[in-house]
Symmetry: C2
Subunit: 372 residues, 2 copies
């Protein structure tokens, strides 16, 4: 269990709450709860007062585990959803909030959860409700030194997973077998979890959101491997495309163009540049090489979540994210999230990096080579 400077995080949170006119936050998104308290789990809430007091509510079964791992002022256990509603009511009482505003995560709460959190038995009638997504995004975008070290460690695990996946990618193996090898290696390198593992092969490299299948790899196939381990609560994101055997010329050319575009974009990632500008660099490089645009949002932030702020507007406008401000030092991003789909196959190379004052530090380092 890694301890972060929760006092500093809470002070910063209080400041943003004051600026935005929030009297309290009522959080349920695990990554947001983890950021402020050290523990994020489902079926739980964190009430944060503007003064920085933290009241946690968790299932009764989890109280002892949370007591060991979280930083809080008050911890309450409940038995079921009705108990959770009453627990939230008590939390409002304890921070003495009867008038004012409470921030909720509109990008995370379902309509039903919203119904619970604003139930007349939970929320005082005088308390108004507003979206607080941007407060937590703003807090979490710039990483502190400890976080950068953890993302670096996750990137090493991602590299180990990629090495195992590339080794397992042989004719006759399935996409599922490749995932098995990658995840086994990452677990054994101390990943506690992974976000979805995407493996696609042959004609299936031409899609963005397809889950993996039992398709058998064949000689000449491209194989796209996209991994996202979680290690000590922090994530990394890596994608490689490899060819089983010798790529045909259009595959080699498309790969080279993509890799060039990605590397040029990465080299420009420094304090002060905007995400939209980086995206233009990437797409412009592909255009200059005679290709169309690559599809999907090319860049996203990486941290506790493997996709977090800064998020591009086309991907996140309706999710309540603001147009991201220019990158600051110690923002961590992944570059290469979009696919170049030029025919019956696609290519993609993605890396996680830290933005620095002078340039990037690339954290995922597994070799970028189409031929294996």
């Amino acid at each position: 269990m890694v301890r972060h400077d929760y006092e500093r995080r809470l002070r910063n949170c209080s400041e943003l709450m004051s600026q935005a006119g929030f009297n309290s936050l009522l959080l349920a998104k695990p990554s947001n709860m983890a950021y402020l308290t050290g523990d994020g789990r489902l079926c739980a809430y964190a009430m944060v007062s503007r003064e920085g007091k933290v009241l946690l509510g968790v299932p009764k079964t989890d109280v002892e585990d949370v007591r060991r791992s979280a930083r809080f002022d008050v911890l309450d256990g409940f038995e079921d959803e009705v108990g959770m509603v009453h627990s939230i009511a008590h939390a409002f009482e304890r921070i003495q909030l009867t008038n004012g505003s409470v921030g909720l995560e509109y990008t995370y709460l379902t309509l039903s959860m919203m119904g619970m959190f604003t139930h007349p038995h939970a929320k005082p009638p005088g308390v108004t409700v507003k979206d607080c997504t941007h407060i937590l995004s703003e807090l979490r975008t710039v990483k502190d030194a400890g976080e950068v070290e953890l993302i670096k460690a996750a990137a090493k695990v991602a590299d180990a997973g990629m090495a195992a996946a590339v080794k397992a990618a042989e004719t006759g193996m399935t996409e599922s077998h490749v995932a098995a090898a990658a995840e086994y290696a990452m677990r054994n390198a101390d990943a506690e979890e992974f976000w979805r593992t995407y493996i696609s092969s042959g004609p299936r490299t031409n899609i963005a959101h397809g889950l993996l299948t039992q398709r058998k790899l064949a000689q000449g196939d491209l194989v796209m491997i996209d991994l996202h381990p979680i290690v000590n609560g922090y994530s990394a994101d890596i994608c490689r495309t490899v060819c089983l055997g010798r790529p045909v010329e259009p595959q080699a050319a498309a790969y080279d163009a993509y890799l060039t575009a990605q590397q040029v974009t990465i080299s420009r990632a420094r304090e002060g540049i905007g995400v939209a500008e980086l995206e233009r660099i990437l797409q412009g490089s592909l255009r200059d090489a005679g290709y169309g645009e690559c599809l999907g949002p090319p860049i996203h932030g990486v941290g506790i979540d493997f996709e977090e702020s800064p998020l591009p507007p086309g991907h996140a406008f309706f999710h309540g994210e603001k147009e991201p401000s220019p990158l600051r030092a110690n923002v961590v991003i992944a570059v290469g999230n979009c696919g170049l789909y030029t025919g019956p196959w696609g290519v993609r190379v993605e890396d996680t990096l830290v933005v620095g004052p002078q340039g990037p530090t690339v954290l995922t380092t597994f070799e970028r080579r189409l031929e294996i």
Copy 2:
């Protein structure tokens, strides 16, 4: 890719829509979309008219993949969220719905997604919005023969994962190593994905929602292993508790009491009995053995999702599920989802079974034995 009888499912859906007064459904939950169309993915929607027409909208990058795998009447690709809003507007136009009602998944949609789906540029002003969670729950609760076969196949994969996990559970190995072995075996047995793998050990068996850690297993530890593979789109749920070495007497006694309670409950799972009654049988058996209640909802449905309808009211009241009606034949449930926490450790045994007219068919069969 397994093909189901989507025509029949859509006819049943239309009938429930008529009864409940819905003119259309606008779905985004992957499991619901998969049930009606054969494809469920993120960042997509399915508009279903009362006449059973299906209009799918997916990211432009995914159009070809969806064309291969889904059953639909109209397929549209969009580039970003603004494109998705316009695509939904077109879908309303195509089914000529300008007045009437559309059903949305209040237990799945976030406030932000709700904002997109009901955006003035998406939804005609004359169309009202209602929760349709119960329609899809009702449709999916009773499984057809093909579904039961798929859940049986997933249960075999779960058994294989459990065998690998129990074999890997040795002194000095971490919880993460045990998960690695289980997931590797399940992937190689053709699991395309798993819901979260829970491994807890020693004092950590005393919690319900704790993620796994790098804790090293020690002689005398109890180890709780909870697996949920997805195979061809369907899930299974199995949990076993094992002891490294000889259990102390209170552990053996608690385990025996739990296993007895679980097995008695399973034996009573037949058409006509209520979930609440089964829960009382389980808790009563533990009470008769001199223990307190086991914590957490003891029973839940299993299907495309590993936790689905029937869901117990204490777990799902605010999530929009109704009090479940008595079990029908071919409902698939897991029994043993609650933990008996009697001291610095806990025990749990969970199995997936099909409810039959005369009794259950238990699908997960790995041996139930504390000593290994």
